[in-house]
Symmetry: C2
Subunit: 343 residues, 2 copies
Amino acid sequence: MRATIREVAKVAGVSIATVSKVFNGYSDVNHETKERILEVAKQLDYAPNMAARTLSSKKQQTIALILNELNFNRKSTMPLEVLDGVHEFTEQSDYEFVFYGTSTEKQKDKTFRQFCYEHNISGVVIQGLKMTDPYYQEIRETNLPTVLIDIVVDNPKVGTVAIDNEAAAYEAVDYLIRNNHHKIGMINGSRNANVSIFREAGYRKALERHHIVVNEEYIQYANYEEDIAYFITKNLLNNHSDITALFCASDIMAIGAMRAIKDMGKNVPGDISIIGFDDIVLASYVTPTLTSVAQDMQKIGYEAAALLTDIINKEMKDTENFRIIPHEIKYRESVKEGIKNAD
Amino acid sequence: MRATIREVAKVAGVSIATVSKVFNGYSDVNHETKERILEVAKQLDYAPNMAARTLSSKKQQTIALILNELNFNRKSTMPLEVLDGVHEFTEQSDYEFVFYGTSTEKQKDKTFRQFCYEHNISGVVIQGLKMTDPYYQEIRETNLPTVLIDIVVDNPKVGTVAIDNEAAAYEAVDYLIRNNHHKIGMINGSRNANVSIFREAGYRKALERHHIVVNEEYIQYANYEEDIAYFITKNLLNNHSDITALFCASDIMAIGAMRAIKDMGKNVPGDISIIGFDDIVLASYVTPTLTSVAQDMQKIGYEAAALLTDIINKEMKDTENFRIIPHEIKYRESVKEGIKNAD
DNA sequence: CTGAAAGCGCTTACAG
DNA sequence: CTGAAAGCGCTTACAG
């Protein structure tokens, strides 16, 4: 039913090797035979079979994007943006692109290596991996080219693409301090998340740079969940009525915090200023609009794929394995600005 | 470097046929040899090569999800939800899942059929296709199992999954009328979009059922874009100051309309009531919150994949090719409710 | 510029 | 319960 290379060869009166050459862009084929072959191919609706091609050539490489816990958060398009970025890169490259979803459960059933072997994958970009996931341990010592988004691992075969989370957090908190906030709480994600660690470090660094003592009780963890952030914010503000600003490690949590503040009869930014992280779409549509640290996930995805191909193609030094994408603070309405007093 | 079936067979002291049987779950293998093979396979880190499997077996089927114009709208997670749904179905099926993005441009370069042949695809789910796209014409007469989301085509090999757009629009407009709105504008998407046509039909039907004459000037098209909706709304309301409600064919456009109304110094829902469509996340976070027709895109994706496998496996009658997913109106703050006057 | 032949890693009747 | 052998649709030296 479906035309194969053999039929094309027969109809065109040539060998399959010649047909193959035409379809692989070799130049050593007579112009006329080439034209004839193309014509026949078109007529027979022929297109090379990928499976056969992959099998016989050792060349055809395929890059996978693995999204962890795709059973995702409807509130954020971040995974989709990463997907778009990786896809865009592979489009204009020679790599095939495939997409898979995984989960902590699935990772227990099948090792990372097995999964990649099975699917003939020569390199993978992973997004959403947690440091408690089985894959994480395996990737630390894998020899399979891998690029992690947001997670750093010490392995020459594994690269990382992310923004400079520490610097970004530093800037955000520094901005609060320069606007006369000295009692600043932090709603962080999870102690186990790489980005949380960096963002907290940036928070601490900014306070220290301004000679503000870090109050450990001001730092709370809400696991990146809106509802947990809601309750934690209420608690935090009830226990520490001197807090005037909150730095949140994600917009989702910032939105939960805003809701808590409103429900407490307080006002953003009048009573409490808030900065979020990620700049998801909601940040611009919520009232008041949310100041946030933006990261370009599409670009992160694109660069991840680019870095991956570099790792596949050449041995790289560890130092080249880390690609930092610029971040940008989007200033909106949720922070009360004010000249710093000389107290 | 990578173990093949041959090496496993050699180490385990059996033939490759036996190894193959074990990995394909055939029962006619001695328990002990099976255990031994599995043990060796594990030790050698063996996993079957998909390309070879696909090539030699005529069984391995792969289903593709093609997202059109993935160069997407950051404001909506709908494509991601569809992806998740299709992915979830293929997970628990015997089908392999692959994902591709396309665009009007790419469709011009390579036909639908060629694309599918090349990638060894036995069936495809397409989302985001426009009736002006090259694929659309081709799919009308393809014999390749295909499921379109939101678009109906008369071809036994092509199925459709969608909500009942006409009924949903009818309900929404009927709800407005029952709350005493008689001058209702519609911000529609595009005259060429299948869903737009159905939603407009529902709008007209609701008015007619209530003996309200349709004023053609009340129906405007904003191409599903927020900014166009913004301008069109201003125009519409300036020209027709008697309008008290707007039915929008998407939340994005509804949000543009809300902004326009605010900028005109009017109030939602005090002066103008609004209903949107899709129930994207923004609808719940915007002020006032937006009443909207919700469609479960994850479920639509899942059912699309399910329908596709049915089409692949059996000849179906045209009448069975259309799967309708339930919709639901989410009542929120953007509609002013009021008892209908007996005028 | 062209073709014969080996081989990629599997599956699947078929024979035993 | 097990294995020898043909074949899936290609690519790639190699010879001419």
